[in-house]
Each structure stands twice: as structure tokens, then as C-alpha cells.
């Protein structure tokens, strides 16, 4: 068999090369349409040759394509399209009917000026290269990259949270030692308070008895001889005996009241910081609330007046130290929400087979976008160093472990109400230890 002449060889290659090749003249009539174009467009060459490109393929972007071809003619220069900006010129099926990944063949196109003998561009040749595989690989790479970027962002976030948690750990460690210290000091104070208290009791009765003796003596000295009488009267006037008698009783009474207050504070401190306690036990929530209010009295007394609307409450099975922590959180938050001076109202009552405690403030209120996040760990609106962002999330988890609910109702500018509902019976006493 004879070899093909070079012209015939060129024709063969142009027709059979695995690249789409077609040529249009100045009027966009198709003058060449190779095998690749025929196969993929399902329009054999005889169907399209001599016909207008846009009549044969009305879906082509006509205005743009016309400019592009005119450009090539005017500049006698190449023009290009890339799949990254224009996925395809012709919508052809891709070579991955099974493995998929894209909707249509990705194409890179080159527009070549076809010059005549005089160097004028009469026709424009377009090559259509199938770059689907590259495009798919590129997309996969881009997706992996995006995935890696996402993971990196998550890791950065985790690291920030870890730092936060570390700081929180230091803080709670500090708080725990302070709590232990307070409990120890409270215990130490209890002993001297005990004997001072008992001595004061004795002292009070001695004072009583002394007063009786003094009463018996009163007036009797008038019967003494002059010299002795005036000496006794000088003594009585010198010490202002009437006032002294009155004040002595008052001093003893006040001292006993003062001691009672010290005892109560010590007791509250001990109640509050019962560190080891994690077993649920029956507790009087009103007692818990009062204890908490005593502990935080200093923190809130300049900001808010506390109004109590206590209802009838049964004893509730709970871990009192944890519930105290929740109460403290809510009351301190309520006071901090108040800008100048306001009221913190605590309402209690029964609801269903449980009890509720509501803490309402007349503070600034919580905007809706903040409200969505207030129970998130580490979320805080307080200045750096003031809040750890853990108070409410810890409260939330404590109430959740007790089988209860914590909800918030807030109006910006009017105030907020946090409401806790707790079942009377602890759901799983054993689990409360965690």
C-alpha cells in the first residue's frame, strides 16, 4: 500500500486527531468539521459543512463568540478560552459516564487565524481540547485544599479554646483552694466563737445577777453616815451608774447578736463550700437561696435590692453545693446586668412534679443574637478578665444533670429572667457524682 502524501496525511491527522478541530469563514459558515467534533456533537460533517455555525448550534454564546472570532481576524492573532473560566464552548458528554465528577466535557479552546497567501485572515480555526481529567483532578485538589484549610481553621479554634480552658482551669484551681481555705478558716473560727459565745451567755447571766444585787443596794446607801454616803454618791455620779446599767445590758445583747451573725456567716461558708459533696440529698431550696444571698451580699448590695417572692416548696433531691453554684451565678449575673441601681426579684413555686426558681433583673437585657449563645462554653460579653464565659454553661450542665431545665426570657432595655425548673426527685442519684 502506498504511503499517504503529506497533504493527505495532514488531512488525515486533522480529521482523526483526538482534539476537536473546526474552521469557520468570515460569515461563520463551517468549512471544516473533524471527526472529534462530529462524534461528540453527534452531527456528522455533511450535516454541518457549509452551514452557519449559529444555525447549527443555537446554544452557543453568539455575541461573545462573534467578537472573539472578529478579534482573531482583526489582529491576525490567537485567542484562547480556558475551562477554569468558561467550562466549555460546546456542551459535550464527558469521558466519565461511570466515574462522573463533572456535568460535561471541560474544554480549552484555541482560536487560530488561518491566513491566505496575502497574509489576510479569511477563516478562523478553532481547536477544542478535552481537559476533563485535568479539571476533575484540579477540582479534587481544590476540594482537598479547602478541606485542609477548614481543618486548620478548626484546629486554630480548638487551640484557642484549649488556652481558654487552661486559663479557666487555673482560675477554678484558685477558686477551689480559696474555697478549701475558707472552709478551713471557718472551721478554725468556729472553736473560739464557741467558747466566746458560751462565755458571753454566762456573762449575760452574771450581769443579770449583778444587776439584781445592785438593785438591792440602790437607795440603801442613804442610811449610811454622811462621810461614807457622800463617798458612795460621788462614785455613783462619777460613773453615771444609771447610763452604765442601761448600756451594759445593751452591749451584751449586741455582742451576742454580732456573734450570731459571725456564726451564720461561718455556717454559710461551710454550707456553700461543701467541696466533697456530690451525692444528691434532700435540700430546702429556700435555705440554699438564702445561704447564697448571704455569701454574695457584698457583691450585689450596691447594685440591687433583692426582693423575695418565696412560695411553698417541698424539699428537693439535689446536690446542694452545685445548686448553690447555679444560684450564685444567676444572682451575680443579674446584679451585673444592672447598670445603675435596680431590683433582683427571686420567685419560687411548684410546677408540675417539680419546683421552679426564677431570678429576674431590671438590667440591660440580652440582645437576641447574644441570647442564642449565652449557654455556649467560653462565650462571654463581659470585659476580658471579668468573666470566664463558663458560668452559664456550667449552670446549664448542672441543671441538665439534675434532669431540669434552664430557660431565659429577656427584653433589651427592660431586663432578663432566668428560670430554673428542677424535678423533686433526682433522676439518677448515682450519676450526679460526675
Amino acid at each position: 500500500m502506498d504511503s499517504l502524501t503529506s497533504g493527505a496525511l495532514g488531512n488525515f491527522i486533522a480529521d482523526r486527531v483526538e482534539v476537536g478541530v473546526f474552521v469557520v469563514d468570515a460569515d461563520f459558515n463551517i468549512t471544516l468539521w473533524n471527526h472529534f467534533m462530529a462524534t461528540h456533537s453527534r452531527r456528522p460533517a455533511p450535516d454541518v459543512l457549509g452551514r452557519n455555525l449559529f444555525d447549527c448550534f443555537p446554544e452557543l454564546p453568539r455575541a461573545w463568540l462573534e467578537r472573539k472570532v472578529r478579534q482573531v481576524q482583526a489582529l491576525r492573532n490567537y485567542a484562547f478560552t480556558s475551562w477554569t473560566q468558561r467550562p466549555y464552548l460546546f456542551r459535550f458528554d464527558h469521558n466519565r459516564p461511570i466515574t462522573g465528577g463533572v456535568d460535561a466535557m471541560r474544554q480549552n479552546c484555541t482560536f487560530l487565524p488561518v491566513k491566505n497567501e496575502a497574509g489576510e485572515v479569511e477563516q478562523v480555526c478553532v481547536t477544542v481540547q478535552d481537559v476533563t481529567d485535568t479539571a476533575v483532578a484540579h477540582q479534587e485538589l481544590a476540594a482537598s485544599l479547602a478541606e485542609i484549610e477548614k481543618e486548620k481553621a478548626e484546629q486554630r479554634k480548638l487551640i484557642r479554646e484549649l488556652e481558654s480552658a487552661h486559663n479557666q482551669l487555673l482560675q477554678s484551681e484558685k477558686l477551689a483552694s480559696i474555697g478549701q481555705l475558707a472552709a478551713g478558716v471557718a472551721h478554725e473560727i468556729n472553736n473560739p466563737i464557741g467558747f466566746v459565745n458560751s462565755n458571753l451567755g454566762t456573762l449575760a447571766s452574771y450581769v443579770d445577777e449583778l444587776m439584781g444585787v445592785l438593785d438591792a443596794y440602790t437607795g440603801v446607801h442613804a442610811q449610811l453616815p454622811d462621810a461614807q454616803r457622800s463617798a458612795v454618791e460621788a462614785q455613783i455620779d462619777g460613773v453615771d451608774l444609771a447610763y452604765l446599767r442601761e448600756d451594759l445590758v445593751a452591749l451584751v445583747t449586741e455582742s451576742r447578736e454580732g456573734l450570731d451573725r459571725v456564726k451564720r456567716i461561718v455556717q454559710d461558708l461551710k454550707d456553700f463550700s461543701r467541696m466533697g459533696e456530690s451525692e444528691a440529698a434532700w435540700a430546702d431550696l429556700h435555705h440554699c437561696l438564702d445561704t447564697t444571698l448571704n455569701v454574695v451580699a457584698n457583691e450585689i448590695k450596691y447594685k440591687a435590692e433583692v426582693v423575695k417572692h418565696y412560695g411553698e416548696l417541698p424539699e428537693v433531691e439535689c446536690v446542694a453545693s452545685q445548686i448553690n453554684q447555679v444560684f450564685m451565678n444567676l444572682v451575680v449575673n443579674a446584679a451585673q446586668a444592672i447598670a445603675e441601681r435596680g431590683t433582683v426579684t427571686i420567685t419560687t413555686g411548684t410546677e408540675g412534679d417539680g419546683v421552679f426558681v426564677a431570678v429576674r433583673d431590671t438590667g440591660v437585657g440580652i440582645p437576641p443574637e447574644v441570647k442564642k449563645r449565652i449557654f455556649d462554653p467560653f462565650y462571654t460579653t463581659k470585659p476580658v478578665g471579668t468573666g470566664t464565659g463558663l458560668g452559664l454553661s456550667v449552670s446549664y450542665s448542672i441543671i441538665e444533670r439534675h434532669g431540669g431545665r434552664i430557660t431565659v426570657d429577656s427584653t433589651v432595655g427592660e431586663g432578663s429572667e432566668f428560670r430554673i425548673w428542677l424535678p423533686v426527685h433526682h433522676p439518677a442519684p448515682a450519676a450526679a457524682a460526675t
Binding site: A63, E66, Q71, N77, Q85, N108
Partner: protein, 203 residues
């Protein structure tokens, strides 16, 4: 060693050839866009690679830019860089047959299209003057909204010096402007010099 590669005569000839080439380029760009184009007189420098970023910054200013590169090959081999300022070429969308509402991909394609026209016209104009045959590779986006100084990684250039030809484009009726820089490595400068000599001999 700045322009020492060229004699005075060669340099003048190159400037003249470039001027004529750019004049033709302006005419053909105007024909394609249908609007009158203003072109600066081309500035020709021979620079060490390390000095190219500074030269670019001097032309464009310190603003953030978007740049397209395109390689050319054949009798002359090098790369052209088209640098667009912040306004980009949205202005030209209708002239290039694009819709008014451009998505990101279309905007980039428009950028590449405009660059291809400018590079083709300028290089083609020059090639014609020195009777050189030239082909072009597809243009690609180099950088988007980047600092001018970061456009070129000169540490990757192994040519000891480069010919730097700079032209500014401006459309009369629109607020579109861009800078085109042609860069030829040293061995191509010698090719160009021979071509200039042939041109001078033919006079």
C-alpha cells in the same frame, strides 16, 4: 550593564521599531474594541532581574493590582505581563461581547481576553517590524488584588538580565487603563539585536 548590550544605533532602531509596532497595535486594538486607544511611547530598559519589581512598582504605583501573564514563542521567546489597576476592565465588558452582569469567572475571562488582545497586538506589531514569526500560549491569571512588588518571583529567573518594554494603554472615552510589560531573557535580547542589525542593513 544596562543598555550596554545595544549600541546607540541599535537602541534608537529598537525604539523606532517599537514605536511603529505599538502604533499599529493601537490601531488594531481600536479596530477590535471600536474605541480610540491612547498609547504611551514605549519605554525600553535592560534590567537585572532583581530590579524588575521596583521598575514595575515605579510604573504602576503601590496600589493593589491584578495581573495576567502570557508567554510568546517562535523567533522571539519571552513573556508579557499585563497589569490592571483596581478598576479592572469591567468597563470593557460590552466591547468584548459580555453580559452586563459579570460573575467572577466571566470577569476573569474578560480580563484574559483583554490581555490577549493587547499582548497579541503589541507583540504582533513588533514582530511584523522585525519580520519575526511568533506564536502565543494561552494567557493565565498571575495574581489578583496583590501587591505589585510580589508579582514576579525574581529568584526563579535565571537570566542575568532582561529586556523590559513598557507601554501604557488608556481608552479615551472610558476610565480604563492598564500597563503592558514585555520581558525578554538575555539570549533573546541577542536574537532581537541580530534582527535589528538585519533591519538596519536592509535600509
Amino acid at each position: 550593564m544596562t543598555t550596554a548590550l545595544f549600541s546607540e544605533d541599535q537602541r534608537d532602531a529598537l525604539q523606532e521599531l517599537t514605536n511603529i509596532g505599538m502604533g499599529q497595535a493601537g490601531a488594531s486594538v481600536a479596530a477590535v474594541l471600536g474605541e480610540f486607544v491612547q498609547l504611551s511611547v514605549p519605554r525600553i530598559l535592560v534590567l537585572k532581574p532583581a530590579l524588575i519589581p521596583a521598575a514595575l512598582e515605579r510604573i504602576v504605583g503601590a496600589e493593589k493590582v491584578t495581573a495576567v501573564r502570557q508567554g510568546f514563542h517562535g523567533d522571539l521567546r519571552g513573556e508579557a505581563v499585563v497589569v490592571f489597576g483596581a478598576a479592572h476592565c469591567r468597563e470593557l465588558a460590552d466591547l468584548m461581547g459580555y453580559d452586563d452582569s459579570l460573575d467572577e469567572a466571566a470577569e476573569r475571562e474578560l480580563l484574559l481576553d483583554v490581555s490577549n488582545v493587547l499582548v497579541g497586538a503589541c507583540l504582533g506589531g513588533l514582530a511584523e517590524q522585525i519580520s519575526a514569526e511568533m506564536g502565543f500560549s494561552a494567557p493565565s491569571l498571575m495574581a489578583s488584588e496583590a501587591e505589585v512588588a510580589t508579582l514576579l518571583d525574581v529568584s526563579r529567573m535565571d537570566s542575568p538580565c532582561a529586556l523590559f518594554v513598557e507601554v501604557n494603554f488608556r481608552l479615551e472615552k472610558r476610565s480604563f487603563a492598564c500597563h503592558l510589560v514585555m520581558l525578554l531573557p538575555e539570549d533573546q535580547i541577542l536574537v532581537l539585536r541580530d534582527a535589528i542589525d538585519r533591519f538596519l542593513a536592509s535600509l
